[in-house]
């Protein structure tokens, strides 16, 4: 458990320094507490991996949409109402039985916010950022994804403002499911390429 205050003489812990910065900026009128709360609410409730799951489920059930998505990800994603910060130019790549794409940002933690929300802890972890560009097969195996030797792996390092979304393989045995029924099967991990989508 992190101490919330620390003792006198000790460096104040980060939670307290956060409170201090908020106070310093607010009392000088530089930050509007309402704007603060708006930012937090947006990313806690409105923008998350459910958006990406809707994109994937649409692509699985509408071949014309899938074609548009793979040709111009940003526009096709915008069709479903998803755009904004960290989503200026989104490229969608498709995983198949023999081709596997996985996404990282080795320099920070760039991530396609409009479709996946803020990145999860494993994506921001130095171990993932350092290792997936050097030994992806080993890293994916540690994360529970074993890929056959015949699968070609491409790691996409998000070094510019281009953002990547992985269109996972639709699991066998889901042919009878509707778009709405497919949405909850799609995980954020599958849309980054560190997992496959499992049939229900």
């Amino acid at each position: 458990m992190t101490p919330t205050h620390g003792g006198p003489g000790e460096a104040p812990p980060v939670a307290l320094r956060t409170e201090a910065l908020e106070q310093l900026l607010t009392e000088r009128g530089l930050i509007d507490p309402k704007a603060m709360n708006e930012v937090i609410t947006t990313y806690e409730t409105n923008v998350g991996p459910l958006n990406g799951a809707k994109v994937v489920a649409r692509a699985w059930t509408d071949p014309e949409y899938r074609r548009r998505l793979l040709r111009d990800g940003t526009t096709a994603i915008d069709e479903l109402g998803f755009s904004g910060r960290q989503g200026e130019h989104i490229v969608v790549v498709e995983n198949t039985a023999t081709t596997h794409h996985v996404v990282v940002c080795t320099l920070c933690s760039c991530y396609p916010w409009p479709v996946l929300g803020l990145p999860p802890s494993w994506y921001k972890d130095p171990a993932y950022r350092a290792r997936v560009v050097k030994e992806p097969r080993t890293v994916l195996s540690e994360m529970g994804l074993e890929l056959g030797d015949d699968v070609r792996i491409t790691v996409h390092d998000s070094t510019s403002e281009v953002r990547w979304l992985v269109l996972p393989e639709r699991p066998a045995g889901t042919e009878h499911l509707s778009e709405e029924q497919l949405v909850p099967l799609v995980t954020r991990e599958a849309m980054v390429g560190v997992a496959k989508v499992a049939a229900p």
Binding site: G6, V14, L24, S121, D125, P126, A130, I153, V194
Partner: protein, 223 residues
């Protein structure tokens, strides 16, 4: 720059952490506050949104400030650096206030004379249009320059001085290397360059490919 942020291929991190189901967006309330504060601090410190200057602040943090407080702690420490660079805050102001918040009585430094850069982006976001044609074509072999710049760059260390194939020509974006230092947007095409793993990591590497998104400035022809 060659800083702690440039993690690709660096050793010593141990195993990755497998995903957790239902991980909250912010595990603790301060993380959401730090995220929002940092998001809003850019305009205060720079006069306008400048993602590149923000990333440059993060990569200038020392190892402890970068790693010890986790991702949102890093953001908070980056915000502090941005705001002290621009003299919106005095060095030590946050620590002094934090101590007073826990009941100590320490003197807080006076508010300095702000020195916010004279900066306004030419448009929202980072996408720009340029009049010139792309210098490199899909399928072309290119080499990344073996550069080691003291300032900001988005050419990772592991990809410097290596040969790859242009897989796609992306639109033009603001050049981070100059924009981070308020020295102009200099928009350039970005290229998805595909590198073979053995080119990057040697003959014993696992077989795979890496694509990096590289600005025109980072690349040269191989012949």
């Amino acid at each position: 720059m060659d800083g702690i942020a440039d993690l690709g291929g660096t050793p010593g991190w141990g195993p990755v952490h497998p995903p957790r189901r239902d991980e909250p967006v912010f595990e603790e309330p301060w993380q959401g506050r730090a995220f929002a504060l940092t998001s809003l601090s850019g305009r205060i410190a720079f006069g306008g949104v400048n993602l590149d200057a923000f990333r440059h602040a993060l990569e200038r943090l020392d190892r402890a400030a970068y790693l010890d407080d986790g991702y949102y702690g890093r953001w908070l420490n980056g915000a502090e650096l941005m705001l002290t660079d621009s003299a919106v805050l005095a060095p030590g102001a946050i620590h002094a206030r934090a101590r007073n918040l826990r009941g100590e009585h320490v003197e807080e430094p006076p508010i300095p004379e702000p020195a916010v850069p004279d900066y306004a982006p030419s448009a929202e976001g980072s996408l720009r249009s340029v009049d010139t044609a792309p210098a490199f074509a899909v399928g072309e072999r290119v080499r990344t320059k073996p550069m080691s710049v003291p300032g900001h760059t988005r050419l990772p260390g592991y990809a410097r001085g290596h040969t790859g194939i242009v897989e796609a020509v992306q639109p033009a974006f603001v050049l981070p290397d100059t924009n981070a230092h308020f020295q102009g947007e200099n928009p350039q095409y970005v290229y998805s360059v595909r590198f073979d793993s053995r080119e990057l990591w040697g003959a014993d590497a696992e077989p795979f490919a890496v694509t990096a998104e590289l600005f025109e400035n980072y690349l040269e022809t191989t012949s």
